[in-house]
C-alpha cells in the first residue's frame, strides 16, 4: 500500500470545523453533512475541512488529542512501555501532517505538536524495527503486534515480507535435502 493511499483513507476521519459561511445540509453518498452555521462547530471529513480551509471558508478545530499535554503523556508512556501503546487516533500521523500543513494557524503550539508526534512516531518505529530484528534473529514463526496503525505497518510491510522471502530462499538452499522436497512441492 502506498503512503498516499493510507493518507487518502485518513481523510475520511471526522474533524470539527467552524465555518464562516452559511449553508444548508449537503447530501453526499457518504452521508449528510452540515448544516453549516457561521461560528458554530460542525463535524466534517478531513478532506472537506482541508478544502474549505484552503478556500478560507472555515477554521479547523484541532482534534482533542492534538494537545501538547496529552501528547507528552502518550510519548512518555510510549517510551516507558516495551510494547506498543494505544495511539490517540488510528491515523494520528497522517492527521497531524495534514492538519499542521494546512491549518497550522488554527492550531496553537503547532510546532510542539509536530515534534511530539514525530517523537511518538520515531519511538514506535524504533520498536517496530527492534521487534522485527528479534523476530528474525530468533527465527520465530509468528509475532503479535497490537496497537499498530496502518501507516506504521505500511512502512515495514513490503521490506519485511520481501526480506523474509529472501531469507527463506537462502535458508532452504542451505539445507539441500529439504529444499529439494520443497521445490517438488511447488
Amino acid at each position: 500500500m502506498d503512503p498516499s493511499e493510507v493518507e487518502f483513507l485518513a481523510e475520511k476521519e471526522v474533524v470539527k470545523i467552524i465555518p464562516n459561511f452559511s449553508l444548508d445540509k449537503i447530501y453526499l453518498i457518504g452521508g449528510d453533512l452540515g448544516p453549516f452555521n457561521p461560528g458554530m462547530p460542525v463535524e466534517v471529513p478531513v478532506w472537506l475541512a482541508l478544502n474549505l480551509k484552503q478556500r478560507q471558508k472555515c477554521r479547523i478545530v484541532q482534534p482533542e488529542w492534538m494537545d501538547v499535554d496529552k501528547l507528552e503523556e502518550i510519548r512518555d508512556l510510549e517510551r516507558k512501555e516495551e510494547t506498543f501503546t494505544p495511539v490517540p487516533s488510528p491515523y494520528y500521523m497522517e492527521l497531524t501532517k495534514l492538519l499542521l500543513n494546512h491549518a497550522s494557524d488554527n492550531i496553537p503550539k503547532a510546532d510542539e505538536i509536530r515534534t511530539l508526534v514525530k517523537d511518538i512516531w520515531d519511538t514506535r518505529i524504533a520498536k517496530l524495527r527492534l521487534s522485527a530484528d528479534s523476530f528474525i534473529s530468533q527465527q520465530e514463526a509468528h509475532a503479535k503486534l497490537d496497537n499498530l496503525t496502518l501507516m506504521e505497518i505500511n512502512t515495514t510491510r513490503s521490506f519485511l515480507l520481501n526480506s523474509l522471502n529472501c531469507m527463506y530462499k537462502l535458508r532452504s538452499n542451505l539445507q539441500p535435502g529439504s529444499s529439494r522436497g520443497k521445490s517438488q512441492d511447488y
Binding site: F21, P38, M40, K57
Partner: protein, 1029 residues
Amino acid sequence: MPCERKPMRYGHSEGQTDVCFDDTGNFIVTCGSDGDVRIWESLDDDDPKSISVGEKAYSCALKNGKLVTAAANNTVQMHTFPEGEPDGILTRFTTNATHVAYNSSGSRVAAGSSDFMVKVVEVSDSSQQKTLRGHNAPVLSVTFDPKDEFLASASCDGSVVVWKIEEQTQVISWPLLQKSNDVTNSKSLCRLAWQPRVAKLLAVPVETTVQLYQRDSWALVSTLSDDLGTQPINVVAWSPCGKFLATGSIGGLLTVWDVEGKLCVDRQKHEKGYTVCGLAWHPSGTQIAYTDTEGCLGLLDGLSSSSSSSTMAIKSTKSYDDLFDDNDDDRPMDEGVSESGSPAKNLVALDDEDDDDLVPATGRARNRSAFLDDENSLDPGSLKLGLDKLGNYEDDAGSAIVLPAASAAPLHPVYEGPMPTPHQKAFQPGSTPAHLMHRFMMWNSVGIVRGYNDERDNAVDVEFHDTAIHHAMHLTNSLGHTLADLSHEAVLLACPSTDELASKLQCLHFSSWDTNKEWMVDLPKGEDVRAVCLGQGWAAAATSALMLRLFSIGGVQRELFSLPGPVVCMAGYGEQLLIVYHRGTGFDGDQALGVQLLLFGRNRQQVIQGEPLPISRRSHLSWLGFTAEGTPCFIDSEGVVRLLNRSLGNTWTPVCNTRDHCKGKSDHYWVVGVHENPQQLRCIPCKGSRYPPTLPRPAVAVLPFKLPLCQTTTEKGQMEEQYWRSVLLQNHFGFLSSSGYEIDEEAQSRAQKEQQELLMKMFALSCKLEREFRCVELAELMTQNVVTLAIRYASRSRRMALAQRLSELALEKANQLQGPEEEEEPLQYTRRNTGFCSQVSGGTGRSSAGGQPRATNVLDSMTSSSRKPTVLLGSSVSAGKLSKTPVLKPLAPRPKSKVPHPDRKQILMSHEPSALWVKYHVFVCVRPKTGFQLWLEENRKSILADNPDLEETDVIKEAMGRFRNLSAGDRLSWTERAKGDEGDLKKRKRAEESQGDDNGQNHSDENSAKKKKPLDTSAKLSAFAFSKN
C-alpha cells in the same frame, strides 16, 4: 522574647509597600510598587491571589469587603474583597494619592495626595466628598478619629494637622517634622495612628520617638523613646485593644510599646535591616504583619502572651484566660447562639463555603460572615458572648481593667439585619471584564469584537462569523473604547469620559451605501455611556444620567427618555429594545432589577413596563439578549436561562440551567447565543472561570434546553417536559407572524405535530395507568383530529366512559372552532384542520336547525372528511359486513339525501345517528366484536322488552349500564367468548386495518353516502395509536 518572628517572604518588587488585615483576620492584604494587591491566606500561602490595581500601588485599606487602594494613576480605587472585582473609582487627584485610610465603621475613606489635598469620601456614594485644604506640601499620611469627628494628617511641609471633618477646618497644627519637597524625599512616612475605641491618644512618629497627643486638649501627654532606636520611625500602629503601640523604623527596628507604662514590651529587628513601611495588627491582637521597602512581608506571632504578661495584674489576666478557655470549649453552643442570632449571615457563610465562585454580589456578605469551619477565625457570636461575660466581671470587680489582647475585637455595634447588596455594575452582555488586557468586548451571533490594551497596542478587532457580512476589521483604539456592540449593519463603540474628553459614541456603519461609513457623537459633559446596543436601523445608549438616547443607524438623534434606574445592560433585536436597570436596592445578595421591553416598529409601544426581573436568589445578571428568533432571554450568575413566555402574560420561564452541565464546581458556561429552532444554547465552556480567555480561541459548545419540571426521570415527566418545551419554544412563531415577519411554516407544523404526538403518547400512557380523568385533561390540549384518534384509542382499549367524554369534548372543540373558522390560517396543517372544522360546524349548524346539535357529526366527519374527490358508493357494498355487526342492524339505511356540493364540502347527513351509535360504528368497523357486543346481542331483546320506547342510543346506553353491573366473572366469560370469535377474524384483521379507509368507507357510506379517505397525518397517528395498543 516570647514573640516569634516568622521568616520574611517575597511579596512585591522593591519599593513602597503597605499591608493590612481583613476584618476577620483570615487574610493578609499587601500592595506594592508592582501595582498588585496580593491576598495571602497566611504567611505560608504559596499562591496568593493577585489583583492588579494599576501601575503602582502606594497604599491600601480594607474594611467590609471593600478594598481601597491608592494607585499611580492618580485615583483611589475600590475593589471587592476577596474577589478583587473592580468596584469603581472613589476619587481622583491631580497627582497620585499617598495614603488611604478607613474610618472605624468603614463608611468613609480618607485619602491624602501629593497635590497637598486630603479628601474624605463616603464609600457608599463617592460623590459626597469633603476636601481638606491647608497643607503646603504632599500629604504623607491620614488617619481618622475613631469617633469620626476629627482627622489627622501629616505632610511634607513638616506639619501634623488635626481637622474637624464636618467643618473642613484645621483644629490644630503642629510643626513636628522635617520639611521635604516630596514623599519620596521625606525621611519618614510618618504614618499617624489614632488610638482605637477610646480615641484618647493620637500617636505621631517624630524622628526616633513617638509623641502621644491627647484628644480635645491636644496636649503632648507623653513621648515614647528607646535608646536602641537610632533611626527615624516610619510607621506606628495601635493594637486593636488600644493598649499597645507598634512602631516600625527605617532601620528595620520593630518595637511594641505598652503605652500606659511607656514600656517597650517587645523589640524585633528586621532580618535584613530593611526599612519597615507597612505595619498592621491582626484583629485579635496576636500578630503583627509588616512589609519593607524591598517588598517583603513578615509576621510577628504570639504577641498576646508577651503583652498580657507585661504590666497587667497577672491574677486577673489568668481568670480572663480561663474565661476564654471556657468559651472555646463551649464553642458549639456559641455557634448555635450566633446562628439563631443571624441566620441570614450564616446562610451566606455556608453558601459561600460550598461555592468558591467569584460572585461580586455576595462578596460583601461573605466578608462580614464568619467562616465557621475555620479554627482561627473568631465567631462573632461567641466573641460577643465573651465580651458580655467580661463586662459582668468588670462590674463585679468594680475596677477598670484593660482587656487582654486576645479579647480585642471591634466593639462598634453590629448590625444584624439584612444588608443591602451593592448594585451590580453595568455591563455589555457577551463581553468579558473591562480590566483584562485582552478581552472580548462583544461576542454575539454576528461576530466577535476583541479589545487589546497592552504596552504594544491599544486596538479593537472586529471579526464576523459569516465573512459574507463584512471582512474582519482592525481599528486602533485611541479613544479607549470599553463598550461595543455588533450587528449585521454596524459596529457601535463607546468610551467613558476622561478629565479632558467627553464620553463618546462611535459607530462604524459598514453597511452604509455612501462613502461615509463612520459617525461619532459626544455626550454632554458629565454624562457617561454605561451600555450600548444595536437594533435594526437604530442604536441605543444608556448613560449615567439615567437617560436612554436613541440614534438612527446613520447617526440621526432620535427619541430619548429617562430610565427609572441605573442601567445594568441592554439588548436590541430588530425593532425590540430590552433594558434591565436597578429598580432599587436588594438585600442579602439579591439584586433588585427591573426590565423594560420596547417596540419601535409601526406601533411603538412598551410591551413590558418596568416589571421586576425574576433572577435567582443571590445572583446577578450575567447575560441578556434575544434568541435568534427574537424572544427576550436572560441568564443569571447561577446559570439559569430564562425565556420570555409571551403566551402567558409575558412571564419568564426557566428553560435551562447551565450549571447542571458543568463538571467542576468552578466551571461555567459563557453564553454567546440562544436559538429556539433548533433548540440550542450556544455557549463556551470555561474551566475554572466565568469567562473565556481570548487565546487560545475558545470553541462554542451547544447545550440542550430542559424545563425544570418535576420527575423528569419518569416517562411521564419526560414527555411533559418535551411537550411544554416544544410549546414554549414555538411561541415565537406567533410573535413573528403577528409582527409581520416571515416564518418557517414547515418548522412550525413540525413542532405542532411533535406536540400532538407527545400528547397522544401521554394519553396512551395515562390510559395504560387507568387515569381516565387525566386522559380527558390531555385531550383538552389536543387538536380536533387528534382527539378523534384519542377516541379511537380509548374505544379500542375498551374505555367506554372515556370515549364518551372525549366525544363530548370533541364536539365542544368543534363549537369553539366555529368562531375563528372564517379566519384564514397560514398553515396547511391548520388549514386542513379548519377545513375539517368548518365541515363539522356546517353540519352542526344544520342539525341544530333541525333539532339539537349532535356529537355524531364530529365522528362522521372524522371518517369521511377529506379533500379528496368523493366517490359515491352504494350502501349495498357494506351489506355483507354489516350483517356481522348486529349492533348496526337497527339502523335503517340512510337516505342519500345529499349530493356532493362542489364548493363546500357538505358531506354530513341530515339524519342523525346518535353519538354513541357512531362511536360503536367506528369501534366495530376497526375491531372484532367485544364481549359487550356479544352480550348485547343476546340481551337486546330483554332490554327492548323492558323499555319498548327506547331509541337505539338509549338502548345501548342502557345495555352498557347493565353490562357494567354484571359480575366480573360474567363479564370475563363474555370477553372470553368474544375472543373465541375474534380467532377467526384475526387473519383478516391486518387486511382490515391496512384497508382502514375501505372499511371506514363502507360504513360512512352507510351514513353519509359519501366516501372519504382519512387525513394523512391522522393516518400516521392512528398507526401509532394502534401500535401502542
